[in-house]
């Protein structure tokens, strides 16, 4: 790949995802590291990052990268391997708002981030997070806490679900059944968290990945 070709590719990616050119360059370097200089990465590549081992929800995180719904292309299912562009698309969900972001853009940004979270919970892609799925989420969160965690997980998930239901559908007859958390309900209950300001990480403009390369995969 010639330098200019890469540059125009980067430009295309920058326009598509909103990252700056330096950020894309850094992320590309990281991508190369993870993939072992291949063009695509697979789940095993991500699995082998040592720092992720302590994370209770690593499986969900890794799955999110391979989830087609996060590519904003109306497809469903999951990839086997992803290329750099898909990698960037997923990463772009974690960009922070800037000073110039207008209120509507902030709304759109928040919706996008919430959608990402929703997709992570809604594993069977039926548009609702059922009680089972929610229980699974809480269980995974508490998975590092041993037996105590598992016992409590169910109760917590149930209480949370109840809360969602009571906030969104206040009056249900005793026989009605609450199918699950739809995206609107999901937005409603997480309104207070201000996702657009919280769900982001700092993407570096300066290249520091070379300093860390000893610790990542090899």
């Amino acid at each position: 790949m010639g330098a200019s070709q890469t540059h125009s590719e980067y430009q295309y990616l920058a326009d598509k995802t909103g990252f700056s050119l330096e950020q894309i360059k850094n992320l590309h370097k990281r991508f190369q590291q993870l993939s072992g200089n291949e063009d695509t990465i697979s789940k095993e590549n991500l699995d082998s990052i040592p720092a992720l081992a302590n994370n209770p929800i690593r499986k969900q995180i890794i799955d999110a990268f391979f989830d087609k719904r996060n590519q904003h292309q109306e497809e469903v299912g999951s990839f086997e391997e992803i290329g750099f562009e898909q990698f960037l698309m997923v990463m772009s969900h974690f960009r922070p708002p800037t000073l110039k972001t207008t209120e509507e853009e902030k709304e759109a940004l928040r919706k996008e981030k919430l959608r990402f979270l929703f997709n992570m919970h809604d594993t069977d892609n039926d548009g609702v997070i059922t009680l089972e799925e929610y229980r699974k989420v809480v269980e995974e969160l508490l998975s590092k806490s041993g037996a105590i965690g598992q016992e409590a997980a169910k109760a917590i998930a149930d209480a949370a679900m109840l809360e969602v239901a009571s906030t969104n559908v206040p009056h249900m007859a005793p026989d009605d059944f609450y199918e699950g958390i739809t995206f609107e309900h999901f937005e409603q209950i997480l309104k207070g968290l201000e996702m657009e300001s919280r769900m982001h990480i700092r993407f570096l403009d300066v290249d520091t990945t070379t300093m860390r390369c000893g610790k990542s995969t090899s």
Binding site: P56, V138, D158, P174, L190, G192, I201
Partner: protein, 801 residues
Amino acid sequence: MVLLFLEVSVRPLGVACSQDTNHNNNHHQDQHSGNATHVKKAFPVLSLDYHHIKAPFEVSLWVLLASLMKLVPAARQLPVTSGGLTEHQPGKPGEDTALNCLGEKPSVSGFHLVPRLSGIVPESCLLITVGLLVGGLIKLAGEDVPPVLDSRLFFLCLLPPIILDAGYFLPIRPFMENLGTILMFAVVGTLWNAFFIGGLLYAVCQIQPANPSILHQLELLPCLLFGSIVSAVDPVAVLAVFEEIHINELLHILVFGESLLNDAVTVVLYHLFEEYSGVGTVTVMDGFLGIISFLVVACGGVLVGALYGILAAFTSRFTSHTRVIEPLFVFVYSYMAYLSAEMFHLSGIMALIACGAVMRPYVEANISHKSHTTIKYFLKMWSSVSETLIFIFLGVATVDGKHAWNWTFVTVTVVLCLVARVMGVVGLTFVINKFRIVKLTTKDQFIVAYGGLRGAIAFSLGFLLDERVFPLRGMFLTAIITVIFFTVFVQGMTIKPLVELLAVKKKQEAKRSINEEIHTQFLDHLLTGIEDICGHYGHHHWKDKLNRFNKKYVKKCLIAGERSKEPQLIAFYHKMEMKQAIELVESGGGIKLPSALPSTVSMQNIQPKKPPPPKPVERALPQLPKGREEEIRKILRSNLQRTRQRLRSYNRHTLVADPYEDGLGDLLIKKQKMIELEKKIKDMNNYLTVPAAASDSPTMRRARLASDPQAYNMKQQSDSVPTIQVDLASPQSPDSVNLMDEFRQAKQQQQEDDEQGLMMKPPSGPHKPGEAGEPREQKLMRCLSDPGPSADEEEDEPFLP
């Protein structure tokens, strides 16, 4: 008003009496020393000895005045039957009064002019005015105004409660997230302010060489000293004003955090300039030492505080047998942290904040709920009274004291303060925004700049100055007071309308929900994971590492028993349940639901649909299959054991097991939660009498909530499970009383069954009114029916510990 007159009248009386007693004492001494002439006096049946109790009496009077000042806004809102203070009606207004004492503001009724006044004018202004009045009255009465704002009194008695209250309840998360910004404002901002004000004041004082005025005496160093005194944002004033305007968390923590952390800078600058003002020159070496000193002061203060905090946490691990003195440990350790830091001239405020913040998570995991409430209310009480006293004293001290008014000096000071603040904030924000992810907007900057209030700390520091070294001390004090008045009155009064005008984001009043907590945790892990995938060690990575370290090592040391392993989410869940349960009971047994939205949704609505249980033709009582019975019995027993272990901490000092305590509390909480759920179901008629177990698994309760009422007989499987027959008694029925007894007896029975002695005794005789609330809940809970086990519901679900 009555009280003011009381105050003023007591004082001359006090003076007169002290003279009187002196007389008496002299008499006595004459008699004893003379020993020759014994004049028999009549035995003094009633004598007045004011001198004996003078100091504590006056202190109490001041505290009483402060507390009554807090009552007055509430009293004014009551409908006035006759002029002046009216009787307080019990109930809501009384509650408001109580809340008022804790520093919260009830809504203004709009009855007459005065309540509207307290809506416009922040309380701090009112209090200063009262202080002015009191000071004026004392002066009018010809007395010497007591030197109330004596620096030692201020720094050692009045300031620590406020800072401890702030530190203990400091919201750690936003504080840490914005720490960089806060430090920039606190350190660099204060330095800028001090040098700007000091330098320009000196320049201004030096102009006009034609008419030599008193200002020309002012050297550079005293000017810089004055600048450093007057430049520090005051936490007391900020707290007082910001509490009323309810702005969003970010701005609040920025201004407040700055006011706390600039103490270190102020301390260093003050000592530095004071030291060298006598000498007259400061060298580069001194400047360098000053910088080192700053690091020592700041980090030393934090270390001292953290050390005491860890000690307090460690001590609280062993207090499970003597719950009564738990709050004392918290207070004493914190105060000692403050004093130790002050001893080394380190930053006492930072020590106190560090102590409170470090000890809180561990202490709260160890202490009982009652102790927690005690700590909370004591801190609020002390800090509230302290704050009130400080403002009143400011007023009094203004009246007293030699003032040297110098138009130039004072006006230039005020103007420079404003200008310096604005320039500082704007400049710093420009730099900070390059490093922040969520930038500060212009509106934010304005509020931060406008919120830079000065207060009593500046005055006290000025008061401490030595007259001999600083001949212009009087002028300094006047200027400081003017700045304080200006910021508190003008800025304090106008900030609220400005916040409305600029439509600044306000504080979210919503209660923390379990969903938010789940997702906060989820987000934390998610962002840490993404950072790891990206490969750089950011903010989240280190936070995660710290959390893991905390969980692995620190918690084991500092938290007693099983709770050391409790994950945060579960702790939160328990806390929430507890809160809901207590709210439920305190709100009079469910008349007013604590939840925002009354909702009819209950557990049954969210359970996945199952095929309806086959309706038995004869409505025979279904029985649990044998295996299920075993399970249930096991669950119940294991849960009881766990409960018992916790309850053993009760001894004869706590005769009746407090239902809000630990293990029993957990059980009751779950029950009460279920009760809450029931309330959401409109139809109570479906529910027949049911035998209920004293301790239930969530499974059983959930299963019962379905609308298919079938009486369910559990007698066979478990002897330890009592049967309690209940019908829908009204809350005031005598049934409720009996229930409580039965419940307790049942528990006792079970425990005796298992041959574990428990010191819990059922309350005998007439119930305390406080307990009446609970029986209602218990009774309601009993009105459940169990439609029978559902297939996928009854897995092996052990009880929540």
